[in-house]
Each structure stands twice: as C-alpha cells, then as structure tokens.
Symmetry: C2
Subunit: 267 residues, 2 copies
DNA sequence: CCCAAAATCTGCAAAAATGCAGAACCTGTC
DNA sequence: GACAGGTTCTGCATTTTTGCAGATTTTGGG
C-alpha cells in the first residue's frame, strides 16, 4: 500500500515534469478552428469586447482559436499555463484530482469566461480544464494579455471584476461543501449548472450529463446523485426523458436551498 | 420549525436591507488609526507598492486607516462593499454563514492581502470579514481604486494576479472539502493557517486559536478538531503549551497530505 | 425492432461523522 | 494558591454517508 502510493507519487511528479518541459506539445485532437476576429465577434459576453478598437485588432491578430472536442483537455493538471483562454462557445469544467484518482470539478466556465491564469514566474498548479461538449476557445499569450491590460483600462477593470466575482462564487461553494447535506449539495450542483450554462433561460432547463459528472460537481458519488434525482422526481421538481433531466421551474428548486441564501451570486 | 425558519429569513433580509441603506454606519468599536502614507509604507507585500510615486501619493491621500479590534467585523455579510481593504498588519478571516447560524471561514487574509470586491453596480454578497486579532487595514474607495488601475499598469496586473491566485487556492480548498477525510481537512486547516499567517517561518509555528475557529476553517466541528489534535500530538507532529499548539516541523505535517499535492499553492 | 454494452437505480451492510454530556483541563482574578 | 468560568477532551449512541452488488433501464448499432 505504502509502496504503491510511493509509485503513484513518482509517476505523478514525472507527469508534472514532462508537462513542464512540453507545456504545449500539441494534442492531435485539438484543432485550430475558425472564429471571427475580435472586432466582429458576436460573443458580447467576452471581456475582450471591453477593449478599444486597437485593442480588439491586436487581440484578433494574436489570438489562436481552438476547437476542443468533448472530453478533451484544454490544459492539463500540472502544466505551465502561458496565457489565458477565453471561451467563445461551449462548456468547460475546471478539475482537480488527487492521487486516489478521484476528480473534483472545482469550477464551470461557459461562454465569455476566462480560463488559465496570468503568471510571470513559472508557476504550476494541479488544476486542469476539460471540455464538457465540443467547445471553441480563443487563446491569448501572457504578453499580449499584459499589453491589452496596459492599454485598455476598461478591460483591466473588467478582468479584475471577473476574477473577484469568481473568487466570491468559489468561496460560497466552499461553504456549501462544508455545510450542506449531500442532498443539498446535489441540488446546488444542478443550480450551478443552470446558472453557468443557461444564464438566460428563465424557468425550464434540460440537463444531459452523466450522473458521475454531476457527482464530481456536487462532491459526492454517482449513487447519491441517482438517489437525489429520484427523490427530486418524486417531489415534482424534475422530469426525465431517458437519461436527460428536465427542470421545469428552476426558481422552485432554488427555494429548497433558502437557508443558504446565495442567489445574488448565481445571477 | 418552518415558521421559525420563515422568521429567520425575514430577519436576515431585513438585516441585509438595513445594511444596504447604511453600508458604512460607523461601528463605534472600529477606530481610525495611524498608518504611514503609501510612499513611506514599510509593508512591502502591499500591492499599492506596485504603483508609481504619483499613484502612491494619491492612494496615501485618499485611503482611510482603521484599527479593527479582535473579533470585530471589517464588513458584514450582505453589506454593500464600496471599495477594497488592504491588510496592513494583522489576521482576517472571510466568513459566510447560513441560516442555521453555522459559520464557515472561506478565506484567510494576512498582511498585504486584499479584501472586499470591486463593483460598479450594486452587488451584495453574503460574505463578511472578521479580525482574528487587532488588525490595521487601509480602505480605498472604488473610485480611487479604479483610478489607480487606470494609471498604474503594474498595479492592475498585480491585482489580477492576486485574485487569480486566490481563486486557484479557493478551488483547491473546494477539492479538499469534498475529497479529504475530516482528519485530513483538519491538517489542511493548520497548513493553511501556517502558510497565510506565517509565510516566512520555516519550520516551527505556534498557533493559538480556539478549536471552534479551526473547525470553521476545516469545515467540521470543534470535537473533531480536538480528536485530530490529540491524534497529531500522539504521532509527534504537535506539541502543546496550555491551549496553544506548537508545530515543530511544518514540512513533516505537509507530507501527511501528499496525495493531494497542492503545495505549490501554499507558497 | 432487437440485442449487447453502458449507464442508472436501489437495497444493504460497513464505515465515518456528528452531537451530546460529563470529565478534565486551562485562564485570569482575587 | 484557590476558585469560578470558560474551553477542551473523550466516550457513546445516533445519524449520515459510502461503496458494493445485483436489478433495471437506456442507448446506439445493425
């Protein structure tokens, strides 16, 4: 057992080091793709839209567009991240594993969200990002990002607001993990999915993810998610169509978590 | 029970609304205090030090200094935050409660850290901040903060890096909450305390907080913390002097959590 | 439409965490 | 140095969560 763990650790370290050496060895499954340049981008929620025309022109020239197929990594745990990814269209989960190979989804990112982090020094975090469906992203290297911040105050301000807001959301999720029952955490996971991936849909949302995916967001296992879904179906909050779940009234679901009152944040 | 909850909710809402109306009704226990202006500030970890001389002069002129006594709020849950607090010297916890009156510590902030968030619109989060010992903070209103970002690129960049880093730390704490056993979470809480409040001490750290305080960080209760401490004393990781705990070798403690490998982050 | 593979659901026993209550221990004051 | 008030520790019964295993349902390919 101890020896087994030791090997796992060594392997993990090697994996990390490999990725330090080849941080962007191109994944053959990740394809460059066509996305409009920033001046003509239809994605109004992208923060680059806060830049001046010159800024957008620069960003459009420098950015690299990728199509990340479903279940492929945008970047891997332990790799150096040399810039930021802006989600053009799609669904991304930010994940973190431990050596027992249990994966926790620590953040969800939808259209217009930023992934990756800004570093000057060689930082290296055990966090990765995976596409939950075919997703188009725009990559900006750190240098260009820095230049955009220098020359576009509105952009810099919005980026700070974005991170500050995500930090607060993450802090509330922290509270959820430590105070909620498993059943409540499952409801919370569904609401988080709704607010991130369907920010505009008012009442009725369809969710079609494997139970294990939802479990990784809620911080439990797929059996509990199953039990939770069954219970919510019995109570009339969910309907199902095959393995897909239909939430007819998201607000009713929110009311189940009133003691945790964090709805301001789930805009 | 239901009615009781209903009243609690109403009261909570009223509390929130009151604080919206009087976001800065001065707490009599919070005193303005003497802190050097930013040009002569000895706190090198403060991000305002990244500004130009003009920026520092402006910040020094506009900032308000407070001495927050132990156990007093810097700001309360639900209140409007109209600017940012920079910790000059002391220890702050960022907390979030639920209606069952259970409080979770979602972040720790030591010297040089930033609290509060930047908002243009009237946002309102169920998050508060409390001094864990007498603490001096500098308050900058949003307008000045915005001006500093406009005119000091290095500052803007560092602020983005700060939030991005805190977000990542928070995400790792999320993983900890959902994957660690209670015992591991307690160890993690001690390490988080060490890395935030004693960033420079190499091996030996003294921690003197009530068990309930540590429980709120770890996401458990004080009984479990007690049991955890006893166990760690038996194993030789902790010594005690009255109710104070002495960790002779922080690195040895870290090794207990190797499967979660997040030490890069606990700088 | 049928079938095999995959995913989901559910009952149950084992494990972990919780909360209570009383004992032991610390702290500061007189 | 004794004492009161507070904090911490620990044993125990209860509750919650977990993980397994087998039953059931769904999915996608022919």
């Amino acid at each position: 057992m101890f020896i087994c763990n030791f090997f796992k650790i060594v392997l993990f370290r090697v994996r990390l080091r490999d990725q330090r050496i080849h941080p962007y060895s191109p994944n053959k499954l990740i394809l460059k793709t066509q996305i409009p340049d920033c001046l003509n981008c239809p994605n109004t929620s992208c923060l680059i839209q806060q830049c001046t025309s010159e800024g957008k022109t620069l960003a459009g020239k420098r950015k690299i567009n990728y199509l990340i197929p479903k279940d492929q990594h945008v970047f891997r745990e332990g790799s150096l991240v040399l810039g930021a990814y802006f989600v053009f269209k799609g669904k991304i989960k930010v994940v973190s594993s431990n050596l027992h190979n249990k994966e926790q989804t620590v953040r969800l990112a939808g259209d217009g969200h930023i992934l990756g982090h800004m570093t000057l020094d060689k930082e290296c975090y055990p966090i990765g990002a995976v596409a939950m469906e075919d997703t188009k992203v725009c990559f900006l290297d750190n240098q260009t990002f820095f230049q955009l911040i220098n020359e576009n105050h509105g952009f810099a301000y919005k980026v700070i607001r974005f991170y500050s807001k995500e930090l607060r959301k993450s802090e509330l999720r922290n509270r959820s993990f430590s105070q909620m029952s498993t059943f409540e955490k499952i409801i919370f996971a569904f609401l988080y999915l709704c607010s991130t991936f369907f920010p505009n849909e008012e009442k009725c949302v369809e969710i079609d993810f494997p139970r294990a995916e939802i479990a990784a967001i809620a911080g439990t296992n797929s059996e509990q998610v199953s039990r939770g879904i069954t219970s919510l179906k019995e109570k009339g909050f969910f309907e199902s169509e095959g393995q897909k779940i239909i939430i007819r009234d998201v607000d009713a679901l929110k009311k189940l978590l009133i003691p945790y009152l964090s709805w301001e944040i789930l805009e």
